[in-house]
């Protein structure tokens, strides 16, 4: 327990002193503001440019009524960016340690490798949770201020779906980090798996089972799609998450560092 605590403390200190936490938090606040801001400003922009557009023969563009739903639609359009920023920032969590040899001192002191992995995983989960909650809450508060969140159905459910997609991605990142030796190989493996999920999702029957379905959770907001449709994908996501972590531990224990 003392070993685990010590390494978690080290990982946590790293978040602060290397400014990782600060950067991801700034990105989440900015993205949180951007969604309602874009929803609010688009009609204003169109209005301002209406004359110019008419002169060029572009007319009759109808900007629909902007509601809380528009704001949330913007949110889900941008949210994969937050996941990508997170993955890029944490793709070096293990590989920089492999390359610099910083884990050698730790491991040769009798530190269990499983505990190293668990420490990193826990800290990444906490950072993801903080970043996502801040991002979601910022959009929620602004949307509530300008419009009314109660117009949107299943608001929290949709938010949770993207959140667990982030958790799943961290599992994938951990597995990739136990396999790859460089930052780039970790990104390729993680990105590759997500890309394969997207490609398989072309087949509608298969799409129902893909963890990437979570990123499309915006469809439940207007009530046209039932939340019950997500059961299968959640089950697959949970199972593959556990497999990623178990696999990562097994590989990491025999990893040449």
């Amino acid at each position: 327990m003392r070993q685990l605590n010590a390494f978690i403390k080290k990982e946590w200190m790293e978040q602060f002193r290397t400014n990782k936490l600060l950067i991801i938090m700034i990105v989440s606040v900015m993205m949180g503001i951007m969604a309602p801001a874009v929803a609010k400003l688009t009609p204003v922009l169109f209005e301002a440019m209406a004359d110019t557009l008419a002169e060029q023969g572009i007319a009759g563009i109808e900007v629909g009524e902007v509601t809380a739903l528009t704001s949330w639609q913007q949110f889900y359009k941008n949210i994969s960016m937050l996941v990508i920023v997170f993955v890029i920032m944490y793709s070096g969590s293990y590989t920089t340690e492999y390359q610099r040899g910083t884990l050698i001192n730790i491991v040769t002191k009798g530190m269990s490798r499983t505990k190293i992995l668990v420490s990193k995983l826990l800290v990444q989960l906490v950072v993801w949770t903080m970043a996502y909650v801040v991002n979601f809450a910022t959009t929620y508060v602004y949307t509530e201020y300008y419009w009314d969140n109660s117009e949107v159905k299943n608001c929290i459910f949709a938010g949770l779906m993207v959140y667990i997609f982030g958790i799943w991605t961290i599992g994938l990142l951990t597995l990739a980090s136990s396999i790859g030796d460089t930052n780039m190989s970790v990104l390729l493996i993680t990105g590759g798996v997500v890309a394969v999920c997207y490609i398989l999702s072309i087949v509608p029957d298969v799409a129902e089972y893909m963890p990437t379905k979570m990123l499309g959770a915006v469809e439940v907001l207007d009530g046209s799609v039932s939340t019950a449709n997500y059961g299968k994908a959640i089950a697959v996501l949970a199972a593959t998450y556990i497999m990623s972590i178990v696999g990562a531990i097994l590989i990491f224990r025999k990893k040449k560092i």
């Binding site: 003392r2 070993q3 010590a6 080290k10 200190m13 610099r100 910083t102 040769t108 009798g110 530190m111």
Partner: protein, 276 residues
């Protein structure tokens, strides 16, 4: 004899190239063991095998009577390890780093602070509590020794601890190792032979994957002093006279060379330090 380390018939290949071939040797407790070999002779590989970082193709290793198994760290609690180029988390201060080490090796809580202070004083870093990022190579090497000695290991393994340092830094590191050897067994690898002569009492020479020679420094002295002497004169004139005298007796001198450490002496003199 009581051995802290026994290596029995270890072989290890990398991609078809045999690095270690049936290597066998033992290191007695409370000795300073110089592990000598050319670059690429397999010194680092041997050390990583002892630490369980590599899996041997064949053979067994025992540390403090316990078998080393790859990937697991059971025997590492007896070992302090100083890698050739020790790397740390640059955003930490030495005390913070050593505290992390202390918690990993489970040093009793009430001893941690005093132990860290003691070890930092030993390696001469007690006044440098800034982030490790700004440390020089020599300072990192000293911090490396500090982290290796922190848990008072029975066996200290140093991989070329002096190779990357200037003569002054080398002397300091050797002095620290020498003083550490009062409490622990030290194995250190090097290709700098004068370092071995300075602090070791046992030597093993690794060549082509095997231990080509092993013995005590006394034995080294006995073998090499058969025919050669080192004579120092007060001046060059005296030296020339002596050589003339030898020649006049028809004695053949097969080899005459300047003393190795001349430059080192000069360097120490110039920067105002006495040689040991």
């Amino acid at each position: 004899m009581d051995n802290i380390l026994s290596i029995k018939g270890i072989s290890k290949s990398f991609g078809g190239k045999k690095v270690l071939d049936d290597l066998t040797f033992e290191v007695p407790r409370n000795s300073v063991y110089g592990f000598v070999g050319k670059n690429g002779a397999g010194k680092t590989t041997t050390m990583k095998l002892i630490l369980g970082l590599y899996q041997p193709d064949k053979g067994e290793i025992y540390v403090n009577g316990k078998k080393v198994s790859f990937g697991q760290n059971e025997t590492n609690k007896y070992i302090g390890y100083l890698p050739d180029v020790p790397e740390f988390y640059g955003y930490m201060k030495p005390t913070e780093y050593l505290k992390l080490c202390a918690e990993i090796t489970d040093i009793p809580k009430n001893e941690v602070d005093s132990r860290i202070k003691e070890i930092l004083t030993l390696v001469g870093l007690d006044k440098d509590n800034k982030r490790i990022k700004g440390f020089s190579r020599g300072m990192k090497q000293r911090l490396g020794i500090a982290q290796a000695l922190l848990s008072k290991p029975a066996l200290l393994i140093c991989d070329e601890p002096t190779s990357a340092l200037d003569p002054m830094g080398r002397k300091e590191i050797l002095d620290i190792l020498k003083s550490a050897s009062k409490e622990t067994t030290v194995i250190f690898s090097t290709h700098i032979l004068t370092d071995v002569e300075r602090i070791c009492d046992n030597v093993g020479i690794l060549h082509e994957g095997k231990l080509a020679w092993q013995g005590t420094m006394e034995q080294v002295g006995a073998i090499s002093s058969n025919k050669s002497f080192q004579v120092e004169f007060d001046s060059n004139e005296d030296m020339k006279k002596a050589i003339e005298a030898i020649k006049s007796q028809n004695i053949n001198i097969s080899n005459l060379e300047m003393k190795d450490s001349n430059l080192e002496n000069l360097f120490m003199e110039v920067i105002g330090h006495e040689t040991a």
